[in-house]
Amino acid sequence: MALTKNQIAKRIAQELKSGDYVNLGIGIPTLVANYVPEGIEVEFQSENGILGMGPFPKAGEEDPDLINAGKQTITPLPGASYFDTALSFGMIRGKHIDLTVLGAMEVSDQGDIANWKIPGKLVKGMGGAMDLVASSENIIVAMMHTNPKGESKLRSACSLPLTGVRCVKRIVTNLAVLDITSDGFLVKEKAPATEISQIVKATEGSLIVPDYVPVMKLD
């Protein structure tokens, strides 16, 4: 049984370590903030200019001067700070952000990522993604294993314009947790009630399947 988007987020949340400063991209990554494990202290940054981002406001308490990079209204937690966008990307470029979670259209088995442009279709722009993937030490991609057409998003080479090269460390999909290794995608965990054959079939790039692949723990 493949994971839901919320379950992908929940699995990624297990990667959080106390003391991590974390940047969450738009989409599934945003959901990670809902699943921070008990006792783990992290702080979320949004690249437009806040550190210590908290939950969405209560209805009626929205502040137009407080949004995240996805333009959603947010609230600050105690200890939060606001700053300009140059300082914000200084945090990113200067490797002060410990973990970046973002979505992708494609990831190659060398860790290249494509997530900003589909030639011939509408281009929305890269936003902060190129800065993030170029500088983060620890990048986790959250995505479905295949696209809506059923084509693999884990590829031997990205077919779409790249966002960054050799940067992704780990991928959490609806089917598996995979690490990027020098030999390709290494299956670390599989989703509950998922066969390895499903993962093999859904992966176009080089895949390494160890003899024993544990099932993800989600509770």
Binding site: I50, P64, D65, L66, I67, Y82, D84, R93, L122, M130
Partner: protein, 232 residues
């Protein structure tokens, strides 16, 4: 004390001409110079090159300039969320240069600070790097990025004084402080113009030296692009 106060939007925009390059502060609809954008949209000037993170929505923010076809070139980072802009981009009525957001911010700061160029890893190995010089530092490849050159910076602050000192609020700060002094002329509109001496010198985000003209804006709408609230 050097006074920067002007009384009208018209005075604030004096000298602006068709074809000029403009930096516009704000991120989406947050922290945008509403009064200045409206005045530009209502003006007879056109063919601007705009430098701004985003393009607003169809009927608000920077979108007002696309709706009135004032822009011939857009340098930004994320340009979703505006259908008229999309149409103009797809029909090649408008030239669009997309830039990594951190690079965009730093290119503004570089212009402000007299740094002609700097190196950044963002975009290495992507099409953004195609026309850029590549250089290795500490075993990692970087692109050479140059400072922007522009004519007017139009920014929005929360509070300001007649000396041009600015304080921003929350994430409405974003690109605004980086654009001050990054163009030949910087115009700041503020929600509240306070008497000189009432801002704590320790809390000023942008010193007045970076601002040429300041005025108190009015009728701030401060529209929210994606109102998101807690499920209760």
């Amino acid at each position: 004390m050097i006074r920067k106060k002007v009384d009208t939007v018209a005075e604030a925009l004096e000298g602006i001409q068709s074809g000029m390059t403009l930096m516009l502060g704000g991120f989406g609809l947050c922290g945008i110079p509403e009064n200045l954008i409206k005045a530009l949209a209502a003006s007879s000037y056109k063919n601007f090159c705009c430098i701004s993170a985003n393009v607003g929505v169809d009927d608000f923010g920077l979108g007002l300039l696309f709706g009135t076809q004032k822009v011939k070139k857009m340098i930004g980072s994320y340009v979703g969320e505006n259908q008229e802009f999309e149409r103009q981009m797809l029909s090649a009525e408008i030239e669009v240069i997309l830039t990594p957001m951190g690079t965009l911010a730093e290119k503004c700061r570089a212009a402000q600070m007299g740094i002609p160029a700097f190196y950044t890893p963002a975009g290495y190995g992507t099409e953004v790097a195609q026309t850029k010089e590549i250089r290795e530092f500490n075993g990692k490849n970087h692109l050479l990025e140059t400072a922007f050159a522009s004519d007017f910076s139009l920014v929005k602050a929360w509070k300001g004084d007649e000396a041009g000192n600015l304080i921003f609020k929350g994430t409405a700060r974003n690109f605004n402080p980086l654009m001050c002094g990054a163009s030949k002329i910087t115009v700041a509109e503020v929600e509240e113009l306070v008497p000189v001496g009432s801002l704590d010198p320790n809390q000023i985000h942008t010193p007045g030296i970076f601002v040429d003209r300041i005025f108190q804006g009015d009728h701030y709408e401060k529209r929210i692009e994606r109102r998101t609230v807690q499920n209760t």
